[in-house]
Symmetry: C2
Subunit: 215 residues, 2 copies
C-alpha cells in the first residue's frame, strides 16, 4: 500500500515537471558550420591593420556573424565562405556538422565549446595567409543557453543534461537526448542544434523545442 | 485503491513491453539519395537494348544497388552519380535528404514510398536522354521493414507507428518518433534512416536501434 502511494506520488511529481517544461517553449537556432578565431590567427588570415566586422547580431548577447569568411580544408575536401563568429576568442575552434566531416575527411568528436583536446586540426585559409591547426575541429554537442532566471524557473542548473522534443506534428518528431544546459548571465535562452539535427527533425531557425525530461 | 491497482497494472504492462522491445535490436540501413525508375523512364535514360545491372544486393530480398547512376537537377542545384535502386518499379521516385533539398531548391514532402501526389518534380539525366518529372521527389518517412515473424514477436502490425532509440551512449542519443512499420513476407527486418537522421544520432550503417514505444 505504501509502495503504491509512493509510486503515485512520484508519477504526479514527474507529470507536474513535464507540464512545467511544456509551458516553456525555447527558440531554436540552427548553426551552420562556422569558425571562432584568436586575435593571433585572425591577423595571420586577414592582416594586422583590419578588424572583424559585423554582418548581424546573434541572439547571444555580444556575439555576431562577421562579414569575413574563410576556407577550411581537410584531407578529403574543403568548404569555402565559412563564416567567422565574433568577437575573437581565446581559442580557435571550427564547428562543423557530421555531414561536413565526411566531405572534409576528418572525425571530430562531439564536444562542448572550448573542449578541444585530441580533436582533429584543419587548414584555415584567409585572404592574407593560412594556418595549419593541430586541433580545434569539433561537432558541437547540442545545447541550450539559459539566462539564470529561466533556468531557475525550470529547475535547471548549469551542466544539467535534458531531453528535448523537436518538430512535433511535422512528420519527423524527434526527441534529442544528450542536450547540455549552460546557464550564465551572459546568455539569452536559446537552443542550438546543427543542420543535421534540424533536418532530421524537420525544423528551422526560429521554431521552438521544449524540454521533456531532465536526465 | 482500485485506481492505484489499475495504475500499477498498466505501468507493469508498459515495462514488460519495453523489455521485450529492448531485447530486439533492429539493424540500421542508412539511405543515401537514390532513384527508382519505371521501365519506360529507364529506357529513355539508358536506351532500349540495355538492362539495369547489379552492383550489390541490398538487405531487402530482391532489391539491389545498380551500377547505373543518373544526374538529378533541381531549380537551384544538381547531384551527379545518384544511384538507381533496382529492380525497375511501377513508379519513378527520387528519395533525397532534407539537406539535399536545399541544394536542389525543392521542398519535398516527408512520405512513405510510392505516395507521390503533389510532390515536386526534378529533371533526371542519363547517358542517352533526360526526363522532366512533374512529381516524384520525396524525403523518405523513416520506417522499419519487418518480416511477419518478427512483427508478430513484437506485437507490431503493418502501418503501426513506433518510437525508436538510436545512438545510445554515443553522445547524440536520439529518439525518433513518426517511424512507420511495414510488415510483409517480402521483407527482411531492417530500419531505414536517411543520412540526416543517421548523422543527427551519430550512427552508421550496420548499427542497431530498438523500439522504445508503440504509438
Amino acid at each position: 500500500m505504501n509502495d503504491m502511494k509512493d509510486l503515485v506520488e512520484r508519477i504526479t511529481q514527474r507529470i507536474q515537471q513535464m507540464e512545467k517544461f511544456e509551458k516553456f517553449p525555447i527558440i531554436i537556432n540552427v548553426s551552420n558550420r562556422h569558425v571562432h578565431l584568436t586575435k593571433e590567427h585572425f591577423e595571420i588570415l586577414f592582416g594586422t591593420n583590419v578588424e572583424l566586422t559585423k554582418l548581424r547580431d546573434l541572439m547571444q548577447p555580444g556575439q555576431f556573424a562577421a562579414n569575413e569568411t574563410v576556407t577550411i580544408v581537410g584531407p578529403k575536401g574543403k568548404f569555402e565562405n565559412v563564416r567567422i563568429i565574433g568577437p575573437l576568442r581565446k581559442y580557435t575552434q571550427i564547428e562543423i556538422s557530421r555531414t561536413d566531416s565526411f566531405v572534409l575527411g576528418v572525425k571530430p568528436p562531439i564536444r562542448d565549446s572550448g573542449n578541444l583536446t585530441g580533436s582533429p586540426g584543419l587548414i584555415i585559409i584567409g585572404p592574407k595567409g593560412k594556418i595549419e591547426l593541430n586541433e580545434g575541429c569539433i561537432i558541437a554537442l547540442r545545447h541550450i543557453h539559459f539566462t539564470p532566471q529561466d533556468a531557475e524557473k525550470l529547475g535547471i542548473k548549469d551542466k544539467d543534461y535534458v531531453r528535448i522534443l523537436a518538430g512535433k506534428g511535422k512528420g519527423r518528431e524527434t526527441i534529442f537526448s544528450d542536450v547540455i544546459c549552460r546557464v550564465s548571465k551572459e546568455y539569452a535562452t536559446e537552443c542550438h542544434l546543427d543542420i543535421d539535427e534540424a533536418n532530421a527533425a524537420n525544423v528551422d531557425n526560429g521554431e521552438y523545442i521544449y524540454i521533456v525530461e531532465k536526465l
